[in-house]
Symmetry: C2
Subunit: 603 residues, 2 copies
């Protein structure tokens, strides 16, 4: 049975010591009353919920999966999922970051992300149900009419109803311009939607009374391609009544046509949704649906990145416990455990390497993701327009990195932590192989990691001539300027500065090549994202090392060993993980020709 | 439904054009009569069998898995497995490389490896049953008494009985020195074995009349640790009669106590084998069991490496078919498919990168593995002692690289080829996620890839001061000397020579550090193996590029496009995959301190 301890100490470190989050939040009127105790209390309670309620139903959720009944089109979630969902709703977690006017708690996105992390560490499949509800809430909050908001937002904030996003169709996923679902206008201002959507996470289930689908479809006169896509809200049951008094009414003309058998996330229903004249209501402007949906997709991309983080943390904790407990072989540098027939495997350098890889990516990812979450709060709620604009730029630049870098790392770390278990990792009961299977989807959904890389290099970097990247570069430079002459910081600042220079040069070089031939950007994109990802992590690891060094200097032998471990992990990151950039820079610079010259029929 | 076309063209290229295998084989009296037609005919028929018989039962084998009946201790294999096994036996494939005196066909190991590759491409779970039988055959051939050989070898060569290797126990896998299974000598010269073995692949099933377990156990007076382990043959049914006339007799005192639920290879039974006074017979000398078992383990390690190759080829073929067929988005460098609403995804650079990664590792791996298989033939059958010794050194040095490098690549390639399918790769019906799950075990069993890396750097390289590695270095140097001045070969020879120099320097540096502290070897081992693996692949890719260039020069526009593709893939390998060594050299040189300084209780 897998274990999980909420990483409260490191979460507090990131929020308070690294980000100074409370002061940052207090600068926003919406969060003027926040204090450290509240923050700490919320994450502590959230951690308890995840460890006590979600973790125990993760393994059976995987083993049982969801069950589809073709006669009723109903989906039954695994044992315990409904009970956990009821507890979650009753405790008010669904509306953690939702507006108080819609019944939410009005707490920062930062805390939402901390909750997400722990949910994903303990039960990704389950956490996707409330996660998509948050996404639907945010999308309607921004793009819904007042009537739509009054109707749907309280239900979504309370979790009484859940949400989905319906984009993919059998013939199109990445390329939504080809989508075919039709929306016919009706005399009463509503629309009738007809079409088939696939891969709809949480599309049908038995957790809640109603499901609010946000559906991309085409109006009859819509232009071809992505400029002819509109967004509709299409509830499973058409609501009756208004606002908070609304109830579920008649069954709408849509049903679940089946669920997918998948590699992992078996506890989450991945549905085919068939609409046959289903009633829907336009959200936002006609033909601007993709823009509206991007609110939900960007939120989902951050959440998916945090899925990578959550799984990394869970895999790490379990692998450490196993590596301390399992005795096998002797330390190469001398017996460590003379009373026992073998040493615990944590004495072996490569076991430590696998563990430290997960640790460094988990802690680096936590610092990064929480910083981005704080930027989300600033973007929405900061009184200073410049701060809001900067935060928006941060969000835009960092979203594909959160999504792709953190999920690539999550899969790699889950796999490495499973490796620590040897053959025992491959059998189901340890729970490690489930983490690997669950982690694998995160590299695919919400835009494959290739799409994220193209988004980064194309839209986020080259399109504005690197302006957003330069903004981040200024943060890095300020840190280098401040600490570049501190001898103890040399081992961190030097490689950080070196990588910063290399990213600048690489970006210029790729920009010039892509100007000639856009395939050059495509050929470098995935390697480029990994390089920039490491620049970001190197920045945060250098900052964290500085805090640790300061504390070690101040407290000497009495220093909280948390800082000793932080410093050792920073060193590991710089010496063992960051050097990967040497490879990716070479690959990114090698050009498109080595990919494009082989004719398709010779593959 | 996954597809598979036997890669006959490339197999012939490797055997005939790259390795000149027929001439090499003809130099051995045992294979004096071999000719190219025989070789080609055998791989063609083997390919047919795999594509027509094994592939169609791979998906249902995964979905159904094996079923264990606790009341009878019997294991039922998935639908179709028994019928396929009967066909395999009847066609004589089981004894392909077995001695003619025991009813085998006496063909080279090279052809056995080619058969393995295609079996593993089409059905790894199924192929493990006959694969372990080959291993048991080889072990008894070397270490069995005449009586044991006369009794067991004909049954194993025909596949009438199957084999297993019983090493792991619940508390020990990597560290076999701790094993506890006991063997008590009996008056009749037999032994009674008592103990529990786990993770026994093919340990119980319904394919054959008897199962021949090769079991590691301790004699009553055995010294502690690995020097007190003996090998026993322990049949499921005790045979009656002698030699070819032997039949199954009484049920022996052992049974299957259960099978594991695993991440993949569901069609292969992974058994707990409980021995309760089971009759066994000593194989080889007392307390020398681990040495004897190493015959089987080394064979198994090569086979597992080839599992990595087989899965890579299968994943590649399916991903290419999907990438040609699936239309989605437009080429960044201009529309390629103006009549359709989108271009096939094979136009996208990163899709090509994922495909070419698998292609380059498959073709490079095939060249490498087949070369090692030819060395296996030389080691056993070459009349010249120096050749035999050189071949033995090659086998010793290359076995951990075959096992670890090829299985790491296999998992990575399966995952990348699955990524080509986007969300469709994550659902079961495409068969891609099964390849990823099946490929994952290969990094673990027969000695984890960390163990392989320690074997390489410790026993195979540093223990003889790099003598075996230098022998391989001479091959590389001879190639460089021959082609270093050919301008068209520059792009291959220069990086090959550069990497060769770097490996030499890295090896010396690590040797000196490990002399001070063995943890330094452990800390560098996994990165070191990847670097040496790339040196080997660079050598074979350079050789293959030379052949391709020669043909292109000779035939001009009329050249067989096979060579055009080979050259393009060689370029891809050198420009996109080999640069990974820049990372691993840095990581390997970074030392043990960054792994060892964190106290175990601070993890």
């Amino acid at each position: 049975m897998p274990i999980y301890t909420p990483p409260l100490r490191d979460q507090r470190f990131v929020m308070h010591e690294l980000l100074g989050a409370v002061d940052e939040l207090k600068a926003m009127p919406r969060y003027a009353d926040i204090d450290a105790d509240t923050v700490n209390h919320v994450i502590e309670e959230a951690g308890k919920f995840c460890a006590e309620v979600l973790l125990p139903i993760n393994a059976n959720g995987d083993a049982e999966g969801c069950a589809y009944d073709p006669s009723t089109h109903a989906v039954k979630t695994p044992r315990g999922f409904r009970e956990a969902y009821d507890k979650f709703r009753e405790a008010g977690w669904q509306g953690l970051a939702a507006e108080t006017e819609y019944g939410g708690q009005g707490l920062p996105h930062l805390l939402q992300i901390a909750l997400y992390e722990m949910q994903y560490s303990t039960n990704q499949s389950w956490a996707m149900y409330p996660g998509l509800t948050v996404g639907a809430y945010e999308c309607l909050l921004v793009h819904g009419t007042k009537e739509q908001k009054d109707l749907y937002l309280p239900k979504l904030a309370s979790g009484e109803w859940t949400g989905t996003m319906c984009l993919t169709e059998p013939h199109c996923g990445t390329d939504l311009g080809m989508l075919r679902t039709k929306a016919e206008p009706q005399a009463d201002g509503s629309y009738k939607l007809t079409g088939t959507k696939i891969f709809i996470s949480s599309g049908e289930h038995d957790l809640a009374d109603n499901i609010v689908h946000l559906v991309l479809a085409r109006l009859p006169d819509a232009p071809a391609g992505t400029k002819g896509i509109s967004l509709f809200v299409v509830p499973k049951f058409v609501p009756t009544g208004k606002g908070a008094q609304a109830k579920v009414g008649a069954r709408n003309g849509l049903h679940c046509g089946g669920i997918e058998e998948k590699m992992g996330i078996h506890g989450n229903s991945t549905c085919q949704i068939i609409m046959d004249g289903a009633s829907g209501w336009l959200v936002g402007a006609p033909n601007k649906g993709l823009n509206a949906m991007f609110v939900m997709m960007n939120g989902a991309r951050l959440a998916v990145g945090v899925q990578g983080l959550g799984i990394t943390e869970a895999a790490y904790q379990n692998a450490v416990a196993y590596a301390r407990d399992r005795i096998q072989g002797r330390s190469l540098s001398g017996v460590k455990n003379p009373d026992k027939p073998a040493d615990p495997i944590i004495v072996h350098p490569d076991v430590r390497k696998m563990l430290l890889t997960a640790r460094a990516y988990a802690e680096g990812g936590r610092a990064f993701a929480y910083w981005v979450a704080l930027a989300a709060d600033k973007q929405l709620h900061h009184p200073d327009e410049t701060v809001r604009k900067d935060a928006a730029d941060t969000m835009a630049l960092m979203t594909p990195i959160v999504k792709a870098f953190m999920t690539d790392n999550g899969f790699q770390c889950a796999s490495q932590c499973m490796q620590v278990f040897g053959g025992h990792g491959y059998v189901r009961q340890q729970g490690m192989e489930q983490l690997v299977r669950d982690a694998r989807i995160n590299m695919i959904y919400e835009g494959t990691n290739t799409i994220q890389a193209l988004d980064l290099i194309g839209r986020k970097v080259l399109m504005d001539n690197g302006a957003k990247l330069k903004k981040f570069g200024k943060l890095v430079q300020a840190f280098i300027d401040e600490h570049g002459t501190t001898p103890a910081m040399n081992e961190f600042v030097t490689p950080l500065a070196d990588l910063g220079d290399k990213v600048t040069k690489l970006t210029m070089e790729l920009g010039m090549k892509a100007f000639q031939n856009q395939d050059e950007a495509g050929a470098a994109a995935v390697d480029y994202l990994r390089v920039v990802g490491h620049l970001v992590y190197a920045y945060f690891w250098a900052k964290m090392a500085r805090i640790a060094l300061t504390r070690i200097e101040r407290d000497g032998d009495k220093v909280d060993p948390f800082y000793t471990a932080k410093l050792a992990t920073a060193r590991f990151y710089f010496q063992r993980l960051l050097p990967e950039t040497a490879y990716h820079i070479r690959a990114a610079r090698s050009g498109a020709k080595n990919l494009m010259e082989l004719p398709a029929d010779l593959f």
